[in-house]
């Protein structure tokens, strides 16, 4: 696979990642609690910025870790069976997203273990320091690992085939794009938009985001399957 195609796959995977909503929900709650507790705008910005940085660092670390594990286990020559497993995983996760991502009730309640949701809610409520908000950002990415594992592994497999410099570029692209939704909400909160309007938009468009994430994953799996499995099989023939 050439470098532009690899980077395009990484960008698409990151776009799918950014459509997942747990971190955005936690950021909304954090904003709500901070404003509701009559904290200053400066503190609101400090906490939300730390949260976004935390989520970014965890994404970067997870992607680097998965890439390192693949590189260590398979080297630069990824076996086709691994590509096939990743494509299957992506299709499976896509179907799960379509079926389960949001709970069938009002609001934007996600299909994640209720224990994790309550823990994140309680932690958000008691977050007062930037370091706590940073930790919350780290945890919110981990909380959604069941869904982000698909775009993450796909990106990791593509990354390890790139030259070193482009690997770094790829990790950077993935991290920045995967943070886009958080950055948008962060800017909206920081610029004085009301949380009610943001939440209303999220609730109105939740099924579209759910569909887009699932469809994006299937498109990604299809493209990778054709280029890596069928493409190399055609090359052998």
């Amino acid at each position: 696979m050439d470098i532009p195609s690899s980077l395009a796959i990484i960008a698409l995977a990151a776009l799918i990642h950014t459509s997942f909503q747990l971190s955005v929900s936690v950021l909304m709650l954090l904003g709500g609690y901070t404003i509701g507790a009559k904290q200053s705008q400066a503190r609101l910005l400090r906490l939300t910025t730390s949260f976004v940085i935390g989520a970014g660092i965890m994404t970067l670390l997870l992607l680097s870790f998965v890439s390192l594990v693949f590189l260590d286990a398979f080297g630069y020559d990824t076996p086709q069976i691994l590509w096939a497993i990743c494509c299957g995983l992506s299709v499976g996760v896509a179907v799960s997203i379509w079926l389960f991502y949001y709970r069938h009730e009002k609001g934007t309640t996600l299909w994640i273990p209720r224990g994790i949701a309550s823990y994140l809610t309680e932690r958000t409520k008691s977050t007062k320091l930037s370091a706590e908000a940073f930790g919350l950002g780290l945890s919110s990415v981990i909380g959604e690992i069941l869904f982000i594992i698909a775009p993450l592994t796909m990106s990791a497999l593509v990354l390890i085939q790139l030259p070193l410099f482009w690997q770094l570029v790829g990790i950077g692209i993935y991290t920045v794009i995967s943070l886009l939704s958080l950055i948008i909400v962060w800017v909206l909160i920081g610029s004085g938009h009301t949380l009610g309007r943001i939440q209303k938009w999220r609730e109105t468009n939740k099924y579209f985001l759910q569909f887009a994430a699932g469809a994006g994953l299937i498109a990604l799996a299809f493209f990778v399957y054709v280029s890596e499995i069928l493409g190399s099989a055609a090359g052998v023939i």
Partner: protein, 94 residues
């Protein structure tokens, strides 16, 4: 100020507790502030909503916390619809 009404907590898993006006007041103020309402308006709105909830509670010795939320949301909707929306969404965001 606490009223002689027992509140059954969500899911019935936690112990019941006495109704506390301050607690409800603080949560309504927080919801109003979250939608950038001025502090004075938030306090006044919370005051009116709390009065309405207390009036509703007078004839009820035992209610669930969900009931109180619903009554508060209904009243808040007439004063500040956006704050009511956010108050309603609070438990169903994640």
């Amino acid at each position: 100020m606490s009223l002689a009404v027992d509140i059954i907590k969500r899911g019935g898993k936690r112990q019941t507790e006495r109704f506390m006006r301050e607690k409800l007041h603080a949560s309504i103020v927080a919801a109003c502030l979250s939608v950038r309402a001025p502090e004075g308006q938030a306090e006044a709105t919370a005051h009116m909503v709390c009065d309405a909830v207390i009036a509703w509670l007078q004839q009820r010795p035992e209610v669930t916390s969900h009931d109180i939320r619903m009554v508060a949301i209904r009243r808040l909707k007439s004063y500040h619809p956006e704050a009511a929306y956010l108050y309603e969404q609070h438990l169903i965001t994640i």
